[in-house]
């Protein structure tokens, strides 16, 4: 069996499961973000009374942090009241950050667990060896009542990464390269396991990036075999007790691919789809109105450091907006401590409170008609960040910072050669 199958089998109380089978699995953590008052509405519509296990439930207020409208503020209020009435103490309010950063930081994510959240980027937590997947509000409400959910055991695709990243390229470029190859529906309903020597070199943050954007290829979940880096990350948060599953040597993957990451160059996804991927150089010179660094894909300390590396001691042109949204409070505090926030603000950045920022087109840096944005986020769908007539290019934090510096789309290797 694959490690994912072992996780599902344990959660379903079975000895064996196989791909295609529908199992009912016990859920270890169910997270609800602040887009989904619908969870509570569905819970009540199903006559839900007590949540099955309040300690296994978390609320994260990230998309509307702080609330941009009275309605959003009221939705938060209703969620706080629900959490209090149900004895749910894992409530991360508007100061906390994006759920996919906040949950691991808070020590809620561990190998071998079944994690569902009302967010498609829940695939991120495969970086820690969890079975993690996004669900809708009503599915989540069912979990609140039953503590279980049905899943189709997925086929697993293995992507082996070899080589090492070249200067100016990042984990983001690697996942864009995969999107270029496999397209937005490449792995619908399937699981992706990332492996190989390059993967072993990747930091936790880099692993989270490639697991996060696996959903842009349609993947249901991701998996990375936990190693000493994961163990150290968890130990630093006091977590030492968890199952470590391993894939059996005779497991047959549905597909196996190998990618040499040293062949990857800085890439971007051009409007309006995540798989419209090209070398940054092909779009070099395109004038931008906004550059955005943040989100559950590109707002970690490592991402802000990359941006600061490009922008330190320099200034972005007037008329260009550089919006920086730290992924979490912890990231924000560390970035203050390392001085990178100061460097970015001095270069002309506007720093917002931790959370999703303008990623989902609600507030804090929306785009007007005809505007062009280059973003370290994950999605460039029409209207994603405001006007459907705006154009969004998705790229690495290095490329975004280099483009902010020049006011036009720029291969980061150019400005890295000049300066740092």
């Amino acid at each position: 069996m694959h490690a994912i199958e072992k996780i599902l089998a344990r959660a379903a109380g079975k000895d064996r499961v196989r791909a295609g089978e529908i199992v009912t699995a016990a859920v270890d953590l169910a997270e609800i973000n602040d887009l989904y008052l619908q969870v509570i509405q569905s819970f009540e519509a199903m006559d839900g009374r007590a949540v099955w296990d309040p300690d296994k439930v978390a609320f994260v207020f990230d998309h509307y942090s702080p609330p941009p409208t009275p309605k959003a503020a009221d939705n938060h209020r209703l969620m706080r009241e629900f959490a209090a009435a149900q004895g749910i103490t894992n409530l991360f309010d508007i100061d906390a950050g994006v759920c996919h950063q906040v949950m691991p930081e808070a020590g809620l994510v561990r190998p071998g667990m079944v994690l569902v959240a009302t967010d498609s980027h829940t695939t991120t937590h495969g970086a820690f060896g969890a079975f993690a997947t996004g669900v809708g509000a009503t599915d989540l409400a069912v979990v609140l009542i039953r503590g279980t959910l049905w899943f189709v055991v997925p086929e697993v695709v293995k992507i082996e990464l070899t080589g090492s990243l070249q200067r100016g390229t990042t984990a983001k470029d690697v996942v864009l390269r995969l999107l270029q190859e496999f397209k937005a529906d490449g792995f619908v309903y399937k699981a992706i396991e990332y492996a190989g020597p390059a993967l072993a070199d990747f930091s936790i943050a880099e692993r989270m990036v490639i697991c996060n954007m696996a959903v842009e290829m349609g993947a249901k979940t991701t998996y990375i075999q936990p190693d000493h880096k994961v163990q150290e990350y968890l130990a630093a948060r006091g977590i030492e007790d968890y199952p470590l599953d391993a894939t059996d040597p005779d497991y047959e993957y549905a597909e196996v691919y190998e990618f040499d990451v040293s062949q990857v160059e800085p890439l971007l996804a051009a409007p309006h789809s995540v798989d419209n991927v090209h070398p940054v150089g092909e779009y070099a010179g395109t004038a931008i109105n906004q550059a955005f660094i943040g989100t559950c894909t590109g707002g970690r300390l490592e991402d802000l450091e990359m941006a600061a590396q490009v922008l330190r001691g320099r200034k972005i042109p007037s008329g260009v907006r550089l919006v920086i949204t730290p992924a979490s409070r912890e990231v924000f505090l560390k970035a203050i401590e390392t001085g990178c926030i100061q460097d970015l603000v001095e270069a002309g950045a506007t720093v917002t409170s931790p959370g999703c920022g303008p990623c989902i087109g609600i507030h804090q840096g929306m785009l007007g008609p005809g505007e062009v944005c280059i973003s370290a986020s994950s999605r460039n769908f029409p209207g994603r960040m405001g006007s459907p007539q705006a154009e969004i290019y998705v790229a690495s934090p290095l490329t975004v910072a280099a483009s902010a510096l020049r006011g036009r789309i720029t291969d980061p290797r150019e400005v890295m050669e000049e300066g740092s």
């Binding site: 998309h63 809708g136 509000a137 009503t138 599915d139 529906d185 999605r379 029409p382």
Partner: protein, 163 residues
Amino acid sequence: MGKLQGRAFIFKDNVDTDQIYPGRYLELTDPKAIAAHAMEGADPTFAERMRPGDIIVAGRNFGCGSSREHAVIALKEAGVGAVLALSFGRIFYRNAINLGLPAIRLAAEPGVAEGDLLTIDLEEGTITLANGEVLTFAPFPPEIRKIIQGGGVIPLVKSEQGG
């Protein structure tokens, strides 16, 4: 699970949930208010032009992207009878089943034009096209059929809760 009949509205590949239901309306919680924005990001005239029972016919990966259940609520409340597509984003697909919106996977391009009248028999697994041609689709697995027959997961779980 009976018969459905409606006019086809054609959409392309990879229609994501931001197009089905733009992010700026996510704070809405009243289904009627949500329905007013159905498909707005892909076709701003859709909500006005469609009539209850009409059918969305899309390409590959319909409903990819975010997990927002609003996308399904918008279509269902607007009265969309069914969504036919070559494949679906998996969270959209689950949400559709949970809320009782038939999401039907087609094996091949159906050869349907905008406005064609389609008749879907969920029991038989058939789609009758305007020209009389009949397409078939694989029946839902029993676990999922149970949810659809129960009118979605909400009445099903509710009935388990007892008085």
